[in-house]
């Protein structure tokens, strides 16, 4: 099985508090990998390393390596702008840009220099279809994205990420503020998308991790406690802590 992202002995500190304490994990190509764990476990910090959004935080020190397709993105040779074209991100709260639905989706492609109207139209339509949003907005592409419902906005954000044609999609608790129906639509979309993309899903919702991921990782206090095929992690965890977390004994 191909490895898309390889994290080796990654240690991250904010100021003097260590948030990741030597994490090593492989993320497989065309799979959905779930990162779960209680608040402060370091799962969100890990994905902000993969897209280098951590660069915008102050006072961070990073040790270790993160390889994407074999290239270490932390060795200073990788251009973070180029990296973020390959690694798309969907955040916990939907953050539409203050402009139309169409212009939200076209934002990334335009940055990549695509000006041709037909080409942009195609990208917008394809991306919205992949995010299962097209049918709901196809007649109102030019209304403000802020007028969509929360669930629609989050799928818009997913579509906007897809439009940049990344290889990896990171989702940081994308359904935390959504109702069950909107959540189901996102999950349905992700299930289709893994054929094309490598997906990392951070979630506090263990049931969601169990439902849609192929691999699951459990983080606790900055350490990777358990990692393996989701079915194995959920039915026969090798660590007591994992079992307790999955059963809702803490978290």
């Amino acid at each position: 099985m191909d490895i898309k992202i390889r994290v080796e002995n990654l240690r991250v500190s904010y100021g003097s508090s260590e948030i990741l304490k030597g994490v090593t994990i492989d993320v497989h190509t065309h799979m959905i990998t779930g990162f779960m764990g209680p608040a402060g476990s370091g799962k969100s910090s890990l994905i902000s390393i993969i897209n280098r959004m951590i660069d915008f935080e102050d006072d961070v020190t990073i040790h270790g390596s993160v390889y994407i397709d074999g290239n270490n993105i932390l060795d200073g040779t990788v251009d973070e702008i180029h990296l973020r074209r390959r690694v798309g991100t969907v955040f916990a709260v939907p953050i539409p840009l203050p402009r139309s639905v169409y212009e939200n989706i076209a934002y990334g492609p335009r940055l990549q220099g695509i000006r041709n109207r037909t080409e942009l139209n195609t990208i917008v339509e394809e991306s919205l279809k992949k995010a299962f949003l097209w049918d709901e907005v196809k007649d109102r592409l030019h209304i403000s994205a802020l007028k969509l419902s929360g669930g629609q906005q989050q799928r818009l954000c997913l579509a906007r990420t897809l439009a940049t044609k990344p290889e990896i999609i990171l989702l940081d608790e994308p359904c935390s503020g959504l109702d069950p129906i909107s959540t189901a639509k996102i999950e349905e979309a992700l299930n289709e998308l893994k054929k094309e993309f490598t997906i990392v899903l951070v979630s506090n919702n263990t049931k969601q991790i169990a439902r849609i991921t192929d691999y699951a990782a459990f983080f606790y206090m900055g350490e990777l406690i358990e990692y393996g095929p989701t079915e194995k992690v959920f039915t026969n965890p090798s660590e007591k802590k994992t079992e307790d977390y999955i059963q809702g004994k803490f978290g």
Binding site: N51, I81, L97, P98, R99, L111, T161
Partner: protein, 278 residues
């Protein structure tokens, strides 16, 4: 003494209402006086004709052109400089001693009386740089004068743009410059425009700094090196020298009306921007 809360509430409402009416009332009285004293003397000739006999007869065309040129050029000069400084202070640098000094300087500049700007412009531009009383000296002085307002309002407007929008832009592989121009500035535009409006108001109404630098000669400024007179200066001289109170009020009315027009135009532009980026 204990007063019934309901009575206190009513009392507060009455007092606050009175204060609001009083504020608006003063404005209305000023406008009404200017209107009734000025309106009878305004006609097409007054607007389009050259002044005669120091402004006692004829129109104010030269001063209208002087005002437009001065305001337009100083805004065109100060806006890019001010907005650029604001972008630097908010987006391109962390809070350091250097930015604190810049900010302190900007605050101080904003508090200086305009006559001092006039004096500086006179000594530096008019005398030292040998510009003479000229449109150019006036424009440069006025640009320096309105710069602090533009920097401060732009900075506030840029700071008010949610951090999340920048984060999203970066995550979609935008550079800092792309994020600033495509996300931050459009969102901050209404606030920046407010600063420009305030500056236009200040430039249109300024007299002291202008007399010192652009001069007060009653002629049509055809080049940057020509001296000239703005409407505000014209009004001041007509009234101060007792040349013609009728013409003075008529000039004042045109001044008030043009500020009104500029405000309406700015609202229109602002709404266009808001409609596009919301």
């Amino acid at each position: 003494m204990i007063i019934n809360p309901r009575i206190t509430d009513k009392l507060a409402r009455i007092i606050l209402n009175a204060q609001a009416f009083f504020t608006v009332g003063i404005l209305v009285v000023i406008v009404v006086i200017i209107f009734f004293k000025g309106a009878p003397h305004i006609n097409l000739e007054f607007i389009l004709a050259a002044p005669e006999d120091m402004g006692r007869h004829g129109g104010i065309f030269f001063t209208i052109i002087g005002t437009i040129l001065l305001v337009l050029l100083s805004i065109l000069l100060a806006t890019p400089l001010g907005v650029g400084t604001a972008i630097f202070l908010t987006e391109y640098t962390k809070e350091t001693r250097f930015t604190k000094i810049i900010r302190f300087g900007v605050e101080s500049l904003a508090g200086i009386p305009s006559i001092l700007y006039g004096l500086f412009g006179f000594i530096f531009f008019v005398i030292k740089l040998r510009m003479g009383w000229s449109l150019l000296a006036g424009v440069l002085t006025m640009a320096i004068m309105i710069l602090p307002t533009i920097i401060r309002t732009s900075e506030e407007a840029i700071k008010a743009v949610p951090r999340n929008l920048r984060i999203v832009s970066y995550s979609l592989s935008a550079t800092k410059w792309e994020t600033v121009t495509k996300v931050v500035l459009p969102s901050a535009a209404p606030g920046i425009l407010t600063g420009i409006m305030l500056s236009i108001g200040r430039a249109v109404g300024e007299t002291a700094a202008i007399i010192f630098t652009m001069g007060s000669s009653l002629r049509l400024p055809l080049s940057l090196m020509d001296s000239g007179r703005t409407m505000a200066v014209h009004f001041y001289i007509l009234a101060r020298e007792g040349i013609s109170m009728e013409k003075a009020y008529a000039t004042a009315l045109i001044l008030v009306l043009s500020i009104l027009c500029i405000n309406i135009l700015a609202y229109y532009i602002m709404n266009r921007v808001i409609a596009k980026y919301s």
